[in-house]
Symmetry: C2
Subunit: 445 residues, 2 copies
């Protein structure tokens, strides 16, 4: 019998308004009011919501709608914008600053991530740590952060840092009785592109792979043994600035281990429907937009992320591409229409929210369980078979390989590699694979 | 009187078909036919063409049209696709492989950049160099490239490498009589997003800034002096594998200098209309799309890149957003309509090309001089005034600062920093700035 990978996740509702307590940390009229509140372990972490799809499908519109919906439900929501595209600002009817600032009501904040600003803080931490440790004899201190430019890739890496601080994927998973201060219930992230969002979703897990090699280089080479401890010390010191933790006593081995465990927690959070939801967005009137959404579904699964549903502007449905045909193409994923927002005049969000279907609202709430029944990997231990759910790909686009004996399986598709660790009973070489309606059934021996 | 920065660029036509010789290196039926041909110095380098604009504006459609047009003009053209979006493949009516392969006729090749594949080559070069130099005592050799994942930012960095090989921005600028083998006349790049394309355009110049600091760290710190020479040796050895150049004798200082000079050449190529053209794309029926195009125009200037014109689907014009209003908004940039391609059935490129306006064809040819008259920076040495052309920004979004005395001016806008080196006669502190219809006029003393 098949065992879904994420069967251990509880199906209790997370974002039911009724379970909230009034004891929170809130922003009112620009001032912060600090009140802590107790929550159950799985409610401690902020939920991250994002949207992927072809350009022009309506990702930013859906992100705005979701943020407005969550805020109106009383959830402390932060909308995070990263692009230079002026659409989000126009739809919101509000200038978006580079620090989280309230928009209209207290529940909704918005921020534009600007890499030129974001690179200042880590640099300043690094400089402070260096001035204590004196690794670079002042050379690091000479760098003027305010005149540094932004290189390719920096936007994503800095965004991961900024989102990481907001959502506390890692920090919030302590004991269930620990008091945790949490600023936001939901963070809605509108990234610079679907491709780059996919890379971000898969980054924790893949960073672990690189870190293992890096640790090897640090521990097994002369240069590594000579220099790595100083760099690790600098890194830890710059991260621990605010806390009183003394990193001096930590061994390099412990630092590598704890970095790996942080990345492991980050990685598993993206597969957890209580912590993360990625929604597909498509324009039904453009068949390429529908095809791209299917493809990104497969890509998100390859990245290791949880896909929670699909949205489309209801007014773009037509005879050839109707509700039923969309539902069929994306089955078993839940789909819902959203109202199309006109760009000709300012948006009245009260009206837009009134026009929002119950289906769409249901899809945005975390207790929608339809998506949880989809297991990206199912093991059948008796038959030594595993089934990979891979929508949006042809069989010819999927490549399987095994590099570490028979203990794991490497799946390559959509320009991303995924490693599937095989349960002990199932370890062995791949003997066959057949592709059937989005499922790749693999036989091992 | 104002002196345009790029006034030294010649206005001779580059891509006139009549100037070509039949002696070329071409691909025919999958086989490469090598024939060298002599070209003038400025014709030696391949032209890079790219498109930016809001998602859904039609960037991929324009890239396909441009590639088809160039190929039909007899230019050896390579279309470079990077996204997982299936649109390019559908429009082309051809599977796009991860190595450049002919599409229909000999002049047009297409390739999809896949980072999972692209990371193999540099890693293998590094491993080979390491096995000779023995810096990592075999630890590098243990890395299995085929099981590495793709991290955020890698797509852009690997794409820069791949495009760099294709366009030879740097290599082709030797003496005018030197025989150069050139595979492509034009490379049309359809990137993963406008934001990331901007970062790529600005990367050479900004890398130079980081490299100066890095060199400082390498030369002035104990750890740097101890380790940097080995890393430089490894880098040079892995880059020089194919050539017979012996890097052993090069001093670290020389390596840093030559890296800086390569980046400097790359950086100036993006400002050279003979080597690079960035086109804006917008959907006139969506006012946000028009606004975004204006914004990306300003962002491209901030990045230091040459913007050559703007395209829009002619069928999307309407009463409020007509040809005249678009021309006015983008003045003095040349604009042109392109036919809208239906996604409902396969594209007949013969018909699509016949429907293409003369305006659009003119805009794609390199001897269109309208865009060259736009100077992003104009100096008035007598009045000690400089004028920055900055379309798409409000005055409030532009920040000026000076960190190195009065020798340079740092301009911050659109989440990018640009350094303007002031001519000796003009050096001094900023005393005033006023913003007038897209131009920021700055007074120095």
């Amino acid at each position: 019998m098949g065992t879904p990978l994420n069967s251990s996740l509880s199906s209790t509702s997370h974002f039911k308004c009724s379970t909230w307590t009034p004891r929170r940390k809130i922003w009112r009229n620009g001032q912060m009011w600090t009140k802590t509140f107790k929550v159950r372990a799985e409610e401690q972490s902020t939920r991250l919501v994002t949207f992927v799809g072809k350009g022009g499908a309506g990702k930013t519109t859906c992100a705005l709608m979701a943020a407005q919906y969550f805020a109106r439900m009383g959830l402390r929501t932060c909308l995070v914008i990263q692009s230079q595209d002026p659409t989000a600002e126009f739809l919101l009817g509000h200038k978006i600053r580079n620090v989280p600032s309230p928009v209209g009501n207290d529940s909704l904040h918005a921020v534009r991530l600007e890499s030129t600003k974001m690179l200042l803080e880590p640099l300043s931490r690094l400089k402070k740590a260096d001035s204590r440790i004196n690794l670079t004899q002042g050379a690091l201190g000479e760098i003027v952060g305010e005149e540094l430019g932004v290189l390719p890739g920096m936007d994503s890496i800095l965004a991961i840092g900024a989102l990481g601080q907001m959502i506390q994927f890692v920090g919030g998973s302590g004991s269930s009785t620990k008091e945790v201060e949490r600023k936001y219930d939901v963070v809605v992230y509108d990234g610079i592109s679907s491709e780059e969002t996919m890379r971000m979703l898969g980054a924790s897990e893949r960073s672990r792979w690189y870190m293992r090699y890096l640790r090897n280089l640090a521990e097994k080479t002369d240069t590594g043994r000579l220099t790595a401890p100083s760099f690790l010390k600098l890194t830890v010191a710059s991260l621990n600035q605010d806390s009183l933790v003394d990193s001096g006593g930590q061994t390099s081995a412990k630092i590598w281990d704890s970095a790996d465990s942080i990345l492991e927690k980050g990685s598993s959070a993206f597969a957890n429907p209580l912590k993360f939801s990625c929604y597909l967005v498509m324009d039904p009137s453009n068949c390429m937009s529908v095809k791209a959404a299917l493809r990104y579904w497969g890509c998100a699964i390859q990245a290791g992320a949880h896909v929670a549903g699909a949205f489309y502007p209801a007014s773009a449905l037509n005879e050839a591409s109707n509700k039923a045909s969309i539902e069929e193409k994306f089955c078993p994923l839940a789909t819902a229409g959203v109202p199309l927002l006109s760009m000709d005049s300012a948006i009245n969000w009260d009206i837009a929210m009134n026009n929002m279907d119950e289906d769409a609202k249901k899809l945005l709430t975390i207790n929608n369980i339809s998506s949880r029944s989809i297991s990206p990997v199912t093991f059948d231990q008796n038959k030594k078979m595993l089934t990979l759910f891979m929508p949006g790909f042809d069989k010819s686009e999927i490549k399987l390989s095994q590099w570490r004996g028979g203990s794991e399986l490497l799946v390559e598709a959509g320009d991303q590699r995924r490693i599937i660790n095989l349960p002990i009973k199932m370890q062995g070489k791949v003997t066959g694979a057949k592709f059937d309606s989005g499922n790749l059934v693999i036989t091992l021996k």
